[in-house]
Amino acid sequence: MREIIEGRVWTLGRDVDTDQIISGKYLTIIDPNILKTKVLEIGLPEFASQSKPGDILVADANFGSGSSREHAPQALRAAGVGAIVADSFARIFFRNSINLGIPTIEAPGVRAIFDRFDVARIEVRRGTITNVRTGASVSFPPLPQHLIDLLEAGGLVEKVRRELADRPSSQDPVSP
């Protein structure tokens, strides 16, 4: 995870739920590269075709509510989002997104200081997000160390892989 994340901003409203990020009709698709072409089809239809890797999503409260579908953060990761920032997140989306290694930052008040295509500068450890155009900024409580470790490992898969590799005995075949 980079210490400073900078990118072009896409803004979103309140309560953008997972149906708006990846519609129920696409749930049988598991290839992230196909999913990314459907991402935010209901919530922000132009995003899939016009976003660039490194773009940052800035949403209002309760981003990612609804179902536990990991398709939603999978699709956003495949689209290359640099970070997802919101006034607040729904619980499972937040976990999924962090577990996939996407910097996911809850910063109350953040939506109000951005317009579409402003540039955001996030200082992860200092806990500030600044609008480079206007100079406005908000601060956020730094992530717990446990989650920083997870992001630094590149996500949960890598973290568990290291843990299992360190303890080869746990992978001995089990007797029936």
Partner: protein, 428 residues
Amino acid sequence: MSATSRGHGATLAEKILARAGGKDSVVPGEIIEGRVDLAMMHEQGAQTVQPFHEMGATRVWDPDRVVIAIDHWVPASTEGAAVLHRILRKFADEVHLPHFYDVGNHGICHQILAENGWVVPGDLAVGTDSHTNMLGAMGAVAAGIGPTEMAAVLALGRLWLKVPTTVRINVRGKLGPGVTAKDLVLRALGEVKTTGATYKAVEWTGPTIERLSMPERLTICNMTTEMGAKCGMVAPDSKTRDYLSGIAKHSMHPMYADPDAQYERTVEIDVDGMPPMVACPYSPDNVRPLPDVAREHVRIDQAFLGSCTNARIEDLREGAAVLKGRRVHAGVRFIVSPASTAIYRQCLSEGLVDLYTEAGAVFTNSSCSACFGGNMGIIAPDEVCASSSNRNFPGRMGPKEGRIYLMSPAATVAAAIRGEIADPREYA
């Protein structure tokens, strides 16, 4: 029970998570590594397979604590769904997971867990579906997680959890005739709202909750998901023990909140005189008294009696009592989908399949059915559905304009008969 070293007692969630974390006590905000008692996967579990292998895992921590229950597309309605099922069957074979509820023995995953005794008091249960909260009715912490996280659970048998604060919903009063547990949870959603319990535990307490049957408790815990909650629960009692007697898959370790437990807040609800409720588009917390909405003559095109929230045998009997001898309104498609194969068979033996189909309903096999807009029962953009399910967000039943009203099984049937939202008490 004595207070812990924290100076006050523990909530039910704190008690259960302390046990799961191997600790004497925990405080909200603390991160624990929780030992999992039961892990459940449905089709989304197909996305668990790749990360499981990428983690370098080769075996599952405890195959007797893993349940796979496919439900969203059963039988497979698209090639994509068939492939998901295939991935899961192959994975179950490869890592020796015997508890697979496959086509013919299927049902909505949460109902499968409940009716087969997979979750018992004191458990920490996780599933790859957001409504895993429903199993909190057993006096357990049951929470939804994503498939990558499930891969870690399958490999390690544990996951990190932040101990939540608890919102208590304390309910008194008597539910009137035609007013149900669904109306109660809708009323509670109207007060707590869809973000009111985000990251938190919900604990239902009070004399009304103690009187609720297990199926009713499953309904109210199911929709704590719509409050944003990590889990929602009811303390176990003799009803819990009776329900699980003879079916519990592992030993119970019931826990109870201390009398001096510290709640983040308590929401008091008195249901005396409460009318049936309805959640209007496009949010489950957009709740109004049903009679007010009925006065506006909201026409419907489809009615759906189904979903993990309300498709148990008790719900289908409740609907049947309203329908008896009446017909589905011309121009309304009425879909009835029992929550499991066991319930389906029970409906057959009680004559409910005849009753519903004679009235003009379509009685489908047990699955998530019309609940999520990805399988069957999809509505057109300008259409309206009365539904006993749990979500009415834009796009939930297909097109983003489609309008869904959430209500009890009785009210769903009343709407199917009238062709518009109607007070079920008029059909008593």
